[in-house]
Symmetry: C2
Subunit: 203 residues, 2 copies
Amino acid sequence: MKKIQVIVAEDQAMVLGALAALLETEPDIAVCARAANGREALALVARHKPDVLVTDIEMPEMTGLTLAAEVRERHPQTRVIILTTFARPGYLRRALDAGAKGYLLKDRPSAELAEAVRRVYQGLRVVDPDLALEAWDSGPDPLTDRERQILWRAGEGKSSGEIAEELHLSEGTIRNYLSEAISKLGASNRVEAARLARARGWL
Amino acid sequence: MKKIQVIVAEDQAMVLGALAALLETEPDIAVCARAANGREALALVARHKPDVLVTDIEMPEMTGLTLAAEVRERHPQTRVIILTTFARPGYLRRALDAGAKGYLLKDRPSAELAEAVRRVYQGLRVVDPDLALEAWDSGPDPLTDRERQILWRAGEGKSSGEIAEELHLSEGTIRNYLSEAISKLGASNRVEAARLARARGWL
DNA sequence: AATACCGGATGACATCTGTCACCTCGCTTT
DNA sequence: AAAGCGAGGTGACAGATGTCATCCGGTATT
């Protein structure tokens, strides 16, 4: 009997080790490699051709979402499960667009991880139902690229003038984009707008 | 031979299960209970009287820092290790004030967890050296309680007027406190000030 | 009783933000 | 060629924000 071969990618080393230990307790699952970031994960997938890749989203070098897209492109026999803290509709949508087969939250019981690995290995999809619902009715990302760039910087505390300089635009234009983003998000100022966008995974 | 009895507290169920699995792989350590929040952890410590409590900081019901203080007060035979994502000097300082014997970051290798448990069990302290240094020279929290309250709300995107109403103060006073906080932190506006304070664990 | 101190309030001023109507220029579409 | 569109810019205005000097009323200090 051969075990399901899994690679785990996660930037917090302690959590990475712990997740691997968790999966190793299952008799039908083997962790054949561990990655601390997206780039490393991609290389390890190429080398080991695992059945399943379990990956976090927010990682240095390469985000879990682009990693998922790369893996689908270059190693379609490996199925991807996104495992993240963030119940953000925007993340879920992007994950599915990137070809991920599973989207699992870190606040679910730990037993669900092994179960998800098995399901996905069998060709099924695994998506948190509450989150899927929320993703559905919170609609798609309404922001344009410019708005996103600008809102991001505003959320860091930069002034309109600073942002203008950084992006080689006029200050008035920055204010226009921010105004537009604020109204799209139903916020009452740039800070709240940035918060809302972050919470939905649009930033 | 009796194993070191450990309780783990962590609000992300998946991570909780994984950490427990990790510790269970050690022959000399046993996880006798798991808690999903601070209040639960305190109750379980009372019931099991473990040797060591490993706890996250940011948890619902009761934060890991107040939990540490409670445990020192009521169950001094249990030593506390704080295990967190955040390399924030302010957190470290508060953790040590609360009587924690260890402060470990989630991006350290997973092997260090078991090692820290053993060390602390033997009565030693375990503190990340880089972080300790940083805590030293970033100085103590310069903010007053009022400033903290107000800066917190400002960071959520509330306007001076809203904050004033919420705290039953005048709007001018709010602006004065914010101005003071901004200058103490060397920021150039409320948003940046809130970011800096958060990053240092002062918020 | 005089002093100092502290939390809070005022008022004035300069600057930054948010909004809106309108303009320009380059690129599709037909 | 004409119309339409989209990214970016301008100008004006109201309101929010940041700064400062100053004031007020308790509460310790001495």
